[in-house]
C-alpha cells in the first residue's frame, strides 16, 4: 500500500498515512485530487478505480471515507477488508466509534493503525492481538493524574456523531 487517507464527506482530511516518501507539496496535491475524485462518485459505484498508475480502493463508513492507494499487482478485495478491519479496530477501541472520536483522539487512530499496518503491509490481523498492544500502552499511562473528563467539551457538527460501524 502506498498511502491511506481518511476524509469526511465535506472533504476534510481526518487522517493521512504515507508509506512512500513524498514531499509535503506532492502529498497535498494528491490529497486534493483524490478527495475530489472519490467524493464525485455515486453511492452504488464500484469501490475501485484507476488513478495515475495506482489503484484506489475506497469505502464510505457513515460520514467518513477510507481510501487506500495500492499498486498494480496488489489485491483490491483484501484491501477493502483491510479498511474494514481497521474500522472494526477503531470501533472496538472507542466503543461505537464516530468521526468525532477520530478528530479528538487522532493520535490513538495513528497508534492503532501502526499496530495493524506497518510499512504499508499488514502486520497483525488478529483483532485481539492489536488491541492487546494498545491496551498495554494505555495501562502505562498516568491515567489518574491527568484524566479530566472530556464531557464538557462541546461537539459541533452533528453529522459526524454518526457511528461509523453498525
Amino acid at each position: 500500500m502506498q498511502f491511506m487517507l481518511l476524509f469526511s464527506r465535506q472533504g476534510k482530511l481526518r487522517l493521512q498515512k504515507w508509506y512512500v516518501p513524498l514531499s509535503d507539496k506532492e502529498k497535498k496535491k494528491i490529497t486534493r485530487e483524490l478527495v475530489q475524485t472519490v467524493l464525485a462518485r455515486k453511492p452504488k459505484m464500484c469501490s475501485f478505480l484507476e488513478w495515475r498508475d495506482l489503484k484506489i480502493v475506497y469505502k464510505r463508513y457513515a460520514s467518513l471515507y477510507f481510501c487506500c492507494a495500492i499498486e498494480d499487482q496488489d489485491n483490491e478485495l483484501i484491501t477493502l477488508e483491510i479498511i474494514h478491519r481497521y474500522v472494526e479496530l477503531l470501533d472496538k477501541y472507542f466503543g461505537s466509534v464516530c468521526e468525532l472520536d477520530i478528530i479528538f483522539n487522532f493520535e490513538k487512530a495513528y497508534f492503532i493503525l501502526d499496530e495493524f499496518l506497518l510499512g504499508g503491509e499488514v502486520q497483525e490481523t488478529s483483532k485481539k492481538n492489536v488491541l492487546k498492544a494498545i491496551e498495554q500502552a494505555d495501562l502505562l499511562q498516568e491515567v489518574s493524574k491527568f484524566n479530566f473528563s472530556g464531557q464538557s467539551i462541546s461537539m459541533v457538527g452533528c453529522e459526524s456523531k454518526k457511528f461509523l460501524f453498525l
Binding site: Q16, E76, I78, G119, E121, V122, E124, L140
Partner: protein
C-alpha cells in the same frame, strides 16, 4: 473498552481542537492557530523548563495543526526530547511527531537515531516496538545506514518477542525498499525463510511480505520459500473455519496470509518437485471449489475475503500458465462473476479476464463471454467498469471477432465518457489495422473514428491511415472516393480535412473521371473548408493545391488565382505566406516535366510498427492531462524523427512537426523552402532523395583511397585548407577553398539521420566540364550533378545520411572536373563525425553521478590529458561542448571550473549513452578529458574528436 482510554486526558488539546471546530470561517481558524502557535513558541522558548506532560501536549497540538494542513517549522527539538522520556505516552507522542513530520535535518536525524538505538537496546518490547515503527514510518537512508545491520539480528534472535519480530520484519522491508544496497544478505536470510513455519500466524503474516519483496530481487536465495509457502497455504485452506481462532475473518481462514502466500508463489515458476506441485494444484482446486459452495455468511466481508483469496489464486494460475484445466476453470469462475450483482466483482472479473485472454490455453474460453462483455459496455453505470470492459474487448480481439468488436467500440464511442475516449480511439485504430483483411474496412473505420470523435483522434492515428493508404495501392481509389464523400458533410472535423486534403492531393486523379468529383469540384470542396481550419491544416491544403496543379493542369489557373490572392500572399503567418509565394512561383516557372518530378506521388513509407501501438503502451491508465500532452509531444517528434525521408523545415516553428509530414512530398525532393525562387530550379536537377547509409565496415579501404588520392593530386592540393576539424562542433561553413573551387556545407542532424547540402562554387570565369563529385564509402543513389558548372555559378547537392552503427572514419568526397584543358582531381573528408548523431540529455547532478558510477568498467572510460591549443576561455569551451552535441550540465560538477556534458548517440540499431567531463588546469594550460560510454570504441572516438577542439 473503558471510557478512560479515550484520550490521555490532554484537556488543553481537546479544548484547542474544539475551538478550531467552532471557528466559523477559515480566517477565524487561521487566527486561532496563529495564537496557539505564538503561545507554544513562547512556552518552548521560556526560561521555565517544561515538564514532560506540557511538552507532550504542545507537541501534540503542533501535530494537530500540521495535520490540518499548516506548515510547522519548530517543535522538532522538543519532540526529540520526548523520545528519551521514560514515560511511555510521552515517548509515543514524540515518535508520532517524528514519523509524521520527518525532517532531513541531519543534526536532528542523528539525535533521533540515538534515541532509537537506546530503545532498540532497552529489551523492553513496547519501547522496541515504538522504535521499529518509527524506522518503518520514516524509512530514510540515514536510518537504513544506522539500523539495516541491526534489525535482521533482532528479527531472527531466538528470544525476540513475537510482536517485535513482526515489526522488525516489516521495518526491514521498508528499509529494503528505500535502500536495498544497505540491507546485506547473509545468514539471516535462511532463518527468515523458516519464519514461514512459525507457530504465530501474525509473525508468518509479517514475514511473508518481507520474503516476497526480497525474493523478487534475489529469487535464488529464497527458493526454499516455495515449498514452505505451499505447505503453509495447504494447511490454511484445508483448516476448518474455526481452527485459526482470531485469524479467521468472517469464516474465512487467514485471508490476508493466504493472499500474501499466493503472491509470494507468483515470484517463481511452477514448483519443479512433483510432490510440491501436486500439493499446490490441490490447494488451488480447493480454493476454486470453495467458490462454488454456499456462503457461510451473508456479510459482504465474508464474500470479499473469500473472493480476495480466489482472485489471488487465479492470478497465480495465470502466472504459471501451465495447467489448462485450472485456466479454464478460472475462466469459467470469472465468467460467473461477470454477471454478479456486486459491481466490485464484475469489475475485478473483467480486469482479471484481461490477463487470461493472453494465455493460449484460455483465449478461446474468454472469447465465449463476448456478448456479456459487450453488454457490460452498454449497461454498466460506472465508468470504471465500462473502462475494464473496453480493455477486455481489446484483449480478447482476434481475426475472428475483430469486425464485431470494432463495431461495438465505435458504437460505444458515440456516448463514451470523455475521460476514456482517446484511449478507445487508439484501441480501435490498432485493432482495425491489425485485423484488417480488407483495407476498405480499415479506411471506413478510421474515417468513422474521425467523424465520431474527431477531437480525440491524435496525430498518430491520422498519420497512420495516410501511411497505409500510400503503401497499399489497392485501397487508394477507394480512399479517395470515401474521403471525398465524407468531406461533403456540411460540418466535418478538421482531422478529416487533413486526411482528405492529403489523400486527394495524392490520389484525387483516381476519382476525377467521375463528373461528380471532377478536379474543380474536388478543389472547391477542399477550399470551402480552408477558412475554417487552423494554420497547420491550411499549410497542408496549400500543398494539396500545388499537387493539384500537377495532377489537373486544367485547374492550374484557378489554383494560381487562389495562391495569388492577398489573403495568401500577404498572410500574417510566415509559413502560409512562404508556401503561397513559393508554390505560386513554382507553378509559374517550372515546366510540366519538372512539376511532375517535384510533385510526384509519395514513395511508400518503410514498414514499421505502428506508433499508435507505442502510444497506447506508453499510456498508463487515465493519466493526468498534462502527462498525456507530454506523451503526445514526445510521440509526434518520434514519428517525424523516424519518418524517412526526413522532411526539412526552414523555420523551426511550433507547428513544424505537423507541417513536416504535410510538406513531405515537396521537401522530399526539394530544398528547404528558404531557398530563393531562382535556386529552386537549379536544385531540382539534382534530387538526391536516397538515404545514404554510412558503411563503417569499409574504413580500411577508405583510408587507402584517401592516401592514393592525395598522392595523385596535382597543383590544387597545395592550397588545401584542412577545415575538417572545425566542423566537429559546427554544421555550416566552408569546407574547402582554392583558387578554382569553393565547397560550402550546410547540414543538420536529428537522431540517427542527417542531411547535408553541399554547395560547389566555381570561382573562375570559365566553365568546369565533366564535373563529377563521387562519394567514397557512401552508397548514394543520386542523380549526378550537372556536369558543367558555369563560371561564377554555384550548384548544390543534397546528401541524406543515416548512421547505421558507430564509426571512426569520415566519408570522402572525391571531385573530378576539367578546367581549361587540365584534369583536376581532389579529395576532401566530409565532416560527418560520430558526434553529429548526439542528442543532448539534461540530467540532475545525482543522476549524472549515478550513471557515471555505472559506467565504471575500465573499457568504458577513455581519458586524455593534453595541452591547450587555444586560449582557455570558459565561454568558448561551453559553446564548443554544446556544439559538439551533448548537453552542457551546469551545477553538476562540485568544482565549478569543470565542464560536464551528457547525451545519447543515435544509430539505426542502438542508442549509446555518453557522459563527458572536461577539467581545465589553467596554470599548466592543460586539460583532462574523460569520456564514459557503454561502448569502448565510442568513448575512444568521441574523446579523440573533442580533444582536438581545445
Amino acid at each position: 473498552m473503558p471510557a478512560v482510554s479515550k484520550g490521555d486526558g490532554m484537556r488543553g488539546l481537546a479544548v484547542f481542537i474544539s475551538d478550531i471546530r467552532n471557528c466559523k470561517s477559515k480566517e477565524a481558524e487561521i487566527k486561532r492557530i496563529n495564537k496557539e502557535l505564538a503561545n507554544i513558541r513562547s512556552k518552548f522558548k521560556g526560561d521555565k523548563a517544561l515538564d514532560g506532560y506540557s511538552k507532550k501536549k504542545y507537541v501534540c497540538k503542533l501535530l494537530f495543526i500540521f495535520l490540518l494542513g499548516h506548515d510547522i517549522d519548530f517543535g522538532h527539538m522538543e519532540a526529540v526530547n520526548l523520545l528519551s522520556s521514560n514515560r511511555y505516552t510521552e515517548k509515543q507522542i514524540g515518535y508520532l511527531f517524528i514519523s509524521v513530520l520527518v525532517n532531513s535535518n541531519s543534526e536532528l536525524i542523528r539525535l533521533i537515531n540515538n534515541a532509537i538505538k537506546n530503545d532498540l537496546a532497552s529489551r523492553n518490547p513496547t519501547f522496541m516496538g515504538l522504535a521499529l515503527h518509527c524506522i518503518a514510518n520514516v524509512g530514510s537512508r540515514e536510518m537504513a545506514e544506522a539500523f539495516a545491520g541491526e534489525i535482521p539480528k533482532i528479527l531472527v534472535a531466538g528470544d525476540t518477542m513475537d510482536s517485535v519480530k513482526q515489526s522488525a520484519a516489516l521495518c526491514l522491508l521498508r528499509l529494503y525498499r528505500t535502500s536495498p544496497d544497505l540491507v546485506p544478505m547473509g545468514d539471516w536470510t535462511s532463518r527468515v525463510v523458516h519464519l514461514l513455519n512459525d507457530q504465530h500466524l501474525g509473525v508468518v503474516t509479517a514475514a511473508t511480505s518481507l520474503i516476497t519483496t526480497l525474493a523478487q530481487k534475489n529469487p535464488e536465495e529464497f527458493k526454499t520459500s516455495v515449498s514452505l509457502a505451499v505447505s503453509r497455504l495447504s494447511r490454511i485452506v484445508t483448516s476448518a473455519s474455526t481452527d485459526l481462532q482470531d485469524y479467521t475473518y468472517y469464516f474465512v481462514p487467514a485471508p490476508w496470509l493466504s493472499v500474501k502466500l499466493l503472491r509470494l508463489l507468483q515470484c517463481y515458476p511452477p514448483p519443479e518437485d512433483p510432490a510440491v506441485r501436486g500439493r499446490l494444484t490441490e490447494c488451488l482446486e480447493t480454493i476454486l471449489n470453495k467458490a462454488q459452495e454456499p456462503p457461510k455468511s451473508k456479510k459482504v466481508q465474508h464474500s470479499n475475503a473469500k473472493n480476495a483469496v480466489l482472485f489471488e489464486a487465479i492470478s497465480l494460475i495465470i502466472h504459471h500458465d501451465s495447467e489448462p484445466n485450472l485456466l479454464v476453470r478460472a475462466c469459467n469462475q470469472l465468467g460467473q462473476f461477470l454477471q454478479h450483482r456486486e459491481t466490485n466483482l464484475r469489475y475485478l472479473a473483467l480486469e482479471s479476464m484481461c490477463t487470461l485472454a493472453s494465455s493460449e490455453f484460455s483465449h478461446e474460453a474468454v472469447k465465449t463471454h463476448i456478448e456479456t462483455v459487450i453488454n457490460a459496455l452498454k449497461t454498466e453505470r460506472d465508468v470504471s467498469v465500462r473502462q475494464r470492459a473496453v480493455d477486455l474487448l481489446y484483449a480478447m480481439c482476434d481475426r475472428s471477432n475483430a469486425q464485431q468488436i470494432v463495431a461495438e467500440m465505435l458504437n460505444y464511442l458515440e456516448t463514451a465518457d470523455y475521460s476514456i475516449r482517446e484511449e478507445i480511439v487508439l484501441k480501435v485504430a490498432i485493432l482495425a489495422e491489425k485485423y484488417a483483411v480488407d483495407y476498405t474496412w480499415y479506411v471506413d473505420t478510421i474515417l468513422n473514428l474521425i467523424r465520431i470523435a474527431g477531437d480525440y483522434v491524435s496525430e498518430e492515428v491520422w498519420y497512420r491511415v495516410i501511411q497505409i493508404v500510400i503503401n497499399r495501392d489497392d485501397v487508394q481509389g477507394y480512399a479517395a472516393k470515401t474521403v471525398f464523400e465524407a468531406l461533403q458533410a456540411p460540418a466535418c472535423h478538421e482531422n478529416l480535412v487533413k486526411v482528405g486534403g492529403y489523400i486527394l492531393g495524392e490520389f484525387g486523379n483516381l476519382i476525377a473521371g467521375d463528373p461528380r468529383s471532377s478536379p474543380l469540384i474536388q478543389f472547391n470542396l477542399l477550399h470551402s473548408k480552408f477558412h475554417l481550419c487552423s494554420v497547420p491544416t491550411r499549410a497542408l491544403l496549400l500543398s494539396t493545391y500545388i499537387k493539384f496543379v500537377n495532377l489537373f493542369p486544367e485547374i492550374k489557373t484557378t489554383i494560381q488565382d487562389v495562391l495569388r490572392s492577398d489573403s495568401q500572399l500577404k498572410n500574417a503567418d510566415v509559413e502560409l505566406q512562404q508556401r503561397a509565394v513559393e508554390y505560386l512561383r513554382l507553378s509559374t516557372i517550372a515546366s510540366t516535366d519538372i512539376l511532375a518530378t517535384v510533385l510526384e506521388e509519395m514513395p511508400p513509407f518503410p514498414e514499421r510498427e505502428s506508433s499508435i501501438l507505442a502510444k497506447l503502451k506508453k499510456k498508463k491508465g487515465p493519466g493526468t492531462v498534462t502527462d498525456l500532452e507530454e506523451i503526445k509531444k514526445e510521440r509526434s517528434s518520434d514519428m517525424n524523427g523516424s519518418a524517412e525521408p526526413t522532411s526539412v523545415n526552414s523555420t523551426p516553428s511550433p507547428s513544424a512537426d505537423l507541417l513536416g509530414l504535410g510538406a513531405a512530398p515537396l521537401t522530399n525532393s526539394a530544398p528547404p523552402p528558404s531557398s530563393s525562387g531562382s535556386l529552386l530550379v537549379d536544385v531540382f536537377s539534382d534530387s538526391a532523395s536516397a538515404v545514404a547509409p554510412l558503411a563503417p565496415g569499409s574504413d580500411d579501404n577508405f583510408n587507402l583511397s584517401l592516401k592514393t588520392g592525395l598522392e595523385k593530386k596535382n597543383t590544387i592540393t597545395s592550397s588545401f585548407v584542412p577545415a575538417y576539424g572545425m566542423f566537429v562542433c559546427k554544421n555550416n561553413g566552408v569546407l574547402f577553398e582554392n583558387q578554382l573551387l569553393q565547397i560550402g556545407l550546410k547540414s543538420e542532424f536529428r537522431q540517427n539521420l542527417g542531411r547535408m547540402f553541399i554547395f560547389y562554387g566555381n570561382k573562375t570565369s570559365t566553365q568546369f566540364l565533366n564535373f563529377t563529385p563521387t562519394f567514397l564509402c557512401l552508397n548514394l543513389q543520386t542523380k549526378p550533378v550537372d556536369p558543367t558548372v558555369d563560371g561564377g555559378a554555384q550548384v548544390q547537392q543534397v546528401v541524406n545520411i543515416e548512421c547505421v552503427s558507430d564509426f571512426m572514419e569520415a566519408p570522402i568526397l572525391n571531385i573530378q572536373f576539367r578546367y581549361g584543358g587540365t584534369f583536376q582531381n581532389l579529395s576532401v573528408k566530409l565532416p560527418i563525425t560520430l558526434n553529429k548523431f548526439f542528442q543532448p540529455t539534461e540530467m540532475s547532478s545525482q543522476d549524472f553521478f549515478q550513471r557515471w558510477k555505472q559506467l565504471s568498467n575500465p573499457k568504458q572510460e577513455v581519458q586524455n590529458i593534453f595541452k591547450a591549443k587555444h586560449p582557455m576561455d570558459a565561454e568558448i569551451t561551453k559553446a564548443k561542448i554544446i556544439g559538439f552535441g551533448s548537453a552542457l550540465l551546469e551545477e553538476v560538477d562540485p568544482n565549478p571550473a569543470n565542464f560536464v556534458g551528457a547525451g545519447i548517440i543515435h544509430t539505426k540499431t542502438t542508442q549509446i549513452g555518453c557522459l563527458l567531463r572536461l577539467e581545465p588546469n589553467l596554470q599548466a594550460q592543460m586539460y583532462r578529458l574523460t569520456l564514459r560510454t557503454s561502448k569502448e570504441a565510442v568513448s575512444q572516438r568521441l574523446c579523440e574528436l573533442l580533444s582536438e577542439q581545445f
